[in-house]
Every structure is written in C-alpha cells, then in structure tokens.
Subunit: 161 residues, 3 copies
C-alpha cells in the first residue's frame, strides 16, 4: 500500500487547526491572528451563497491586522449576550497542493453555550477549506474559508468561528 502524500506534514497541519479552535474556545481569541499570515485571508460564508457564487460573507478579513481589529471591536464595542463556543473538528485531509501551500479540508461543528442560562445548541456545522503554508518554522494559514451549512445562522456573528 502506498503512503499518503504530504503525510509528514499531517500532524503539524492538524495541530494548527486545533490550535485555532482551542484559542477561541478558551477565550484567547486574539491568538488566532498569529496563526494567519499577515496577508492571509479569513472568510465565513454560507454554503447557499458559495454554491451560487454570491460574494456575500458574514466575515471577510483581508489579513491578520483586519482580523485583529474585528476581535478588538468585539471586545470593546459589541453589545451581546455572553456566550462561548466549543469546536468539534473532524475529517482533516490534505487533498493537494497549490501555490506552494497545502490544500486542506475538514468538517466542523460548533456548539454554543449561553453564559447566563446555560442554553446549549448546535450553532453551526460545515466545511473548512484551508490553504496552509508549511515553508516557515511554524505552519500558518494563507487562507481559511469556513462554509457553514445552514442559512439560518443568526446574522450577527460576534465571535469568529
């Protein structure tokens, strides 16, 4: 049986995805900015829009600085009912290579818990399409594209996925 290509990078890529999720779940959200390349891209789109080529995204950050700004405004300006996420990731596969980066696919499920009443629900599920740069000392995201399954996600997404 042939070995999988890119197998040597698998663990580091997997760990990068887990690191992003855990930073958010542990409310150290600012830390995700260091996992995105300075000129990287981070988007959150519905499957409905994406399948139709519609450009509208819930989040669309061009670069780590823009993502940092968004998180800052979340900390300072946004008024919202306190809640936190729990990420469940699955099916991480390195499916190819493009532009010197690894193309990665994975599935996600986010459970949201409201701090006040403890209400717990599936907030979002979907697929992530990542492009990961493994040329440096630590792997980082060139592109993260979250595509969530259901259009009925609440319009205001405060915490990034």
């Amino acid at each position: 049986m042939a070995a999988l290509p890119h197998d040597t990078h698998y663990r580091a890529v997997e760990n990068l995805l887990y690191e992003w999720a855990r930073a958010i779940d542990e409310n150290r959200i600012e830390a995700i900015c260091n996992l995105l390349l300075p000129d990287g891209r981070y988007t959150v789109t519905s499957r409905f829009n994406r399948d139709r080529g519609l450009p509208l995204a819930v989040i669309d950050a061009h670069g780590a600085a823009q993502l940092r700004d968004r998180i800052k405004s979340m900390r300072i300006a946004n008024v919202y009912e306190p809640h936190h996420y729990r990420h469940i990731l699955s099916g991480i596969q390195i499916v190819g290579e493009a532009g010197g980066c690894l193309e990665v696919r994975s599935n996600f499920l986010v459970v949201r818990t409201m701090d006040l009443d403890g209400d717990m629900a599936i907030y979002a599920s979907g697929q992530v399409c990542d492009s990961v740069d493994v040329s440096g000392e630590q792997p980082r995201f060139r592109r993260r594209e979250f595509i969530y399954d259901s259009r009925v996600i609440e319009t205001l997404m405060v915490i990034p996925l």
Copy 2:
C-alpha cells in the same frame, strides 16, 4: 512504551473513512462505491435491532454494484425534501485483524440540514464497525456496518450514511 500494532496503516485507514464521509457531504455520493470492494457489504442497522440479533436493516447492500443502484434510484426516482449531511467522525481505532483485513471502530455524528428552510438537527449518532482491506494499492472496505443509537430515525433514509 510499546508502539500500537497496525500503526503504519492508521493514517491510510483514517483517510479512507474521511474520504467516504466527504464524498457524501460534498454530494459526490457515487464516489463511495469505489471505496467498497466489489463483493463488499454495507449495512445500516439500529443498535436496538443489532443487540437483539434482529436482522432488519435500513440499508443492506451486498456489493458495490448494489450500492451504486441504490444511489442511482436516489438521484432519479426518490421524491424527498432536499437536504444534506455533515459527518463528524471520532475515535477511530484499529482493534484487531480478521480474515486478512483490519477491524476498525469509530463513532459518528451526522448533522442534517434541510435546504429549503435551513433547519439543522442531529440526524444520527452511533458506531461504525469496519473491515478494511489494506492489501491493494489503495485501502478499501470489505465491510461497513453503521449502527445508529436511536430507533426514532426516520424510516426513509434517502442518503446513505
């Protein structure tokens, strides 16, 4: 500390399970037929029936051709409200060897999203008992047995798990 037996095959087996799930989630359902041996077996049974030795299964395909037929009828004949799945897999373990194949266990959770209103729910959870043939160039399933936890799954399962 001793290494786990079968460790060299782990990544390829894991990738095979992910490939099956992703083909369904991305609506390339026909592709799963190539992951099952021509004379392989694919079944979907409730834990209730399985624990009692009751033979009734929601899906019972004897071979890749029969599975292909079922998917074809889904595409052409079945009338159902459009929906899609999101597979979350976990706990993949190679637990032994039998008949020249690896015995694999894993847990699954499938979130179903209705295309029209975006309604999202846990459709099924359970365990998969797989028998994987790793003797060829690519690993393939000799047997896939999905055992779902709840009897209240809707009778008509259109899309395979």
Copy 3:
C-alpha cells in the same frame, strides 16, 4: 518546519482517550478503571465553577478503586431511566509536560440516547484536561478533568463521562 515535541507519543495518547470513550459507549464502563492509575484522579466539573475556583464537582474520584465503587453503585443501586452515551472527541493536543507526565487537551461532545423512547440530545460538551503517564508499558491517566460548558446539566450524572 520543526517536528512537534512529544510526537512519538501522540498516537498512543489519542488511543488511550478513545479507549476510555469506547468502553463507556459500549457499556463496558468498568474497563475505564484500568486506564486510570491506582492513585489517579478523575473529576467532572462545570466551567462556571472551575473559572471561579469553586471546588464543587459532579464526580470526584480519588483513585481507580473509588471510580470502581461508583460504577458498581450505578450498576446495582441507582434507579434511573436507561440511556447510553456516544462520545465525539476532537482537537487532541499534547500541550506540555509536568511531573513526568504529558499534559493533554481535547474537546468532547456527548450525545445521550434514551433507550425507551429513543430521544436523542446533546448531553454535554466541554474540554478535558488530562495528565498522561507514558512511562509504563501502556499509557494511563494520572488525572482526568472533564470541564463541561453548561451549568444546566442534569444534577444526577449516572454514567461517568
């Protein structure tokens, strides 16, 4: 790119976590006692209490023998509606080393299915903080700390997580 530290132990640690979950899901709950060191610690606490340093825990077993007692009383004395769990684990990371053990983080989601009516729901989600001893032939837990997200978990937790 540098390799991850502790990478050689990763698979064995992952398998240990999966083994614990599968023993419970397959109703071989007694088996988890063999995965905890004789003087190990197993606790289940809410995020709410933990963040405030409140000591109250739903389960707090000092050692494998105490855990065995608890499971025995569950089998013999507790009166409860029959149900079972399905564990979905994700994001397993070895984050450091302390006292000769590996420090491990992971996320969990437990789906609970009632045997009688088949009712299925997210019972708990959260993070696990593990300390794993890999010095012996088989890895074992020195400490397992389940921290669940929602305070509204039902007070009586019969089956351990």
